[in-house]
């Protein structure tokens, strides 16, 4: 597991047309990696995420994606993702094919992918319109022991999963502290696993039961301080709630969005420069 620059990791391991999960649940969202995907102008991606948020709004608005598998797509506590909506409602900058799940369905799909199983299971009762509308298959199963009705959701095994974490140690292992969401399951399910971290340390000195991903299952690690901004990294920095609010105005119109993208993403060499431009770097 080499520690390499983020630009190199994306260039080498994220191909046009790949299915790619950037996970993180409010916490540890791999923004820097998403920005680098935009900078390198990847196209035709199948984005996978339980809660696509600003970074997905940006990637979709930038034209990186042609499909999306998700369970909740909004700006948490603020409102809509206007670029996501524009893609679905008006096909701008291109149509976005949607595979819609519930949180629990995404969770068992990642778990199945992480466990080498072809599908995950949930208890199932009467179908909703969500079951009827789903573009991707799901199947009802009957329990051979109890007769109970179940829903099978095909496993998710992304070509690439990217997550952000607090630290990598000298052995190349990665430590995640705090809310993990489904990031660990998405990491374990991936064919290629890229990780960005806040810092490189000699040893974690972590608890016996700490959440650690072994070096040998990671394809590459990149050290990107502030790499989860505007989300947060527990123990490192807080969530930039103001940016989430400000995004509402930036993303509402195509023109303001495009200008922001050009100035901030394409106009920044890397994440450090972006954070300086945003005035949050110290």
């Amino acid at each position: 597991m080499p520690v390499i620059a983020l630009a190199e990791a994306i260039a080498r391991h994220v191909q046009d047309g790949a299915s790619i999960a950037l996970e993180g649940f409010t916490h540890l969202i791999p923004f820097a990696a998403g920005h680098e995907i935009i900078r390198q102008r990847r196209r035709g991606l199948h984005l996978i995420r339980m809660t696509p948020d600003l970074i997905h709004d940006q990637m979709i608005g930038a034209g990186c994606a042609t499909s999306l598998t998700f369970s909740w797509g909004g700006n948490p506590g603020v409102g809509s993702l206007y670029r996501l909506r524009d893609a679905i409602e008006k096909g701008w900058p291109q149509p976005l094919a949607v595979t819609e799940r519930t949180h629990a369905q995404m969770a068992v799909a990642y778990q199945a992918g992480a466990s080498g199983l072809p599908f995950g299971l949930l208890r199932h009762y009467a179908p909703t319109d969500l079951d009827r509308a789903a573009a991707a298959p799901a199947a009802e199963l009957r329990c051979p022991f109890t007769g109970a009705n179940l829903l099978a959701i095909p496993a998710l095994n992304p070509d690439v999963t990217i997550i952000h974490a607090q630290a990598v140690d000298a052995g190349g292992n990665v430590l995640i502290r705090g809310i993990t969401g489904a990031a660990r399951e998405a990491a374990l399910a991936a064919r290629t696993l890229l990780v960005t971290v806040e810092a490189q340390v000699e040893r974690f000195g972590a608890d016996l039961n700490a959440v650690v991903l072994p070096a040998w299952m990671i394809t590459a690690v990149s050290v990107v301080a502030g790499g989860a901004h505007p989300s947060y990294a527990a123990g490192c920095y807080e969530r930039d709630n103001r940016f989430y609010v400000a995004w509402d105005d930036i993303a509402r119109e195509r023109a303001t969005f495009t200008r922001w993208l050009d100035e901030h993403i394409h106009g920044s060499r890397d994440h450090a420069q972006l954070l300086q431009r945003l005035g949050v770097a110290a």
Binding site: F25, G77, T102, A126, Y237
Partner: protein, 266 residues
């Protein structure tokens, strides 16, 4: 003359009052979170709060702005992977109360949080289901908080994301759903509850100074009224004091300037 409390405060206090002490509550962000944390600070100190981010038994000192704020993790009994919240807690039947909101609700408490218009060519694409379908399925009781208007309280949902009582008269129960369904819909007019037999939502309580006529006009179907409509007590001064302090503390906590120490990228 301005009221001594806002409509949001009335809703929040009313919602908080639905929660009994010691119950296990699956909390959404916004009004549900405010209501739960108000309840925890007033009549229900042992209310167990679970947020879908995996923070179990959390006791936030200020209101979280997102479902996964650091404050929720720092004050939790346990932080578990998200899949476990849905499997070990919700599907395992350990959740007493689930709190839901939606863009549309129908007379049987079924909810739409997916699209306005058609699914394939939506007029408005909403954020989507999130955890709502499973909360609506498994929580022993669900509480719904929504502002009432003919556009949101509709005769026919554009899309059924989460089940309430389906077509009513026991259809939900007959379909085998383990949770009991919506027990109360708390609106900015009062409370709607399911009729014991038909399970159609009916107006059972109103805030002080609000008329049943106004509530019915704000509903997109002919809203039935319960035989006896209760007038809900206004927020107590102590409720308002606790709620406002919580909100002031929240604002203060979230107003500090963010700085991130960046070191050169390797």
């Amino acid at each position: 003359m301005s009221a001594p409390y806002t409509a949001d405060e009335m809703m929040t206090v009313t919602a908080a009052r639905q929660l009994r002490d010691g119950a296990v509550c699956f909390v959404g962000i916004g009004l549900p979170s405010a209501a739960c944390n108000l309840a925890r600070r007033t009549h229900a100190p042992d209310l167990v709060l679970i947020y879908e981010s995996g923070t179990v038994g959390t006791k936030p000192r200020v209101l979280p702005l997102s479902i996964g704020d650091g404050e929720l993790a720092d004050t939790a009994t346990a932080v578990v992977p998200l899949p476990e919240v849905f499997a070990h807690y919700l599907q395992r039947g350990r959740v007493d109360f689930g709190f839901l909101g939606a863009a549309q609700i129908d007379r049987f408490g079924n909810l739409n949080s997916t699209v306005i218009g058609s699914y394939t060519a939506p007029r408005v694409r909403l954020p989507g289901s999130g955890g709502a379908p499973e909360i609506a399925t498994h929580a022993r009781e669900t509480l719904i908080i929504m502002k009432q208007s003919p556009r949101s309280f509709v005769a026919r949902l554009d899309f059924m994301t989460s089940v309430g009582y389906l077509g009513g008269s026991g259809e939900r129960r007959r379909s085998g759903f383990p949770g009991g369904g919506p027990r109360a819909v708390i609106t900015d007019f009062g409370i709607l509850r399911p009729h014991p037999e038909t399970e159609e939502l009916e107006l059972t309580a109103l805030y002080p100074g609000v008329t049943a006529e106004a509530a019915c006009e704000a509903t997109g179907w002919p809203l039935k009224r319960a035989a006896r409509i209760e007038t809900l007590p206004p927020p107590q001064a102590s409720d308002l004091e606790v709620l406002r302090k919580l909100q002031a503390d929240t604002e203060r906590a979230h107003s500090s300037t963010l700085t991130i120490r960046i070191t050169p990228q390797t």
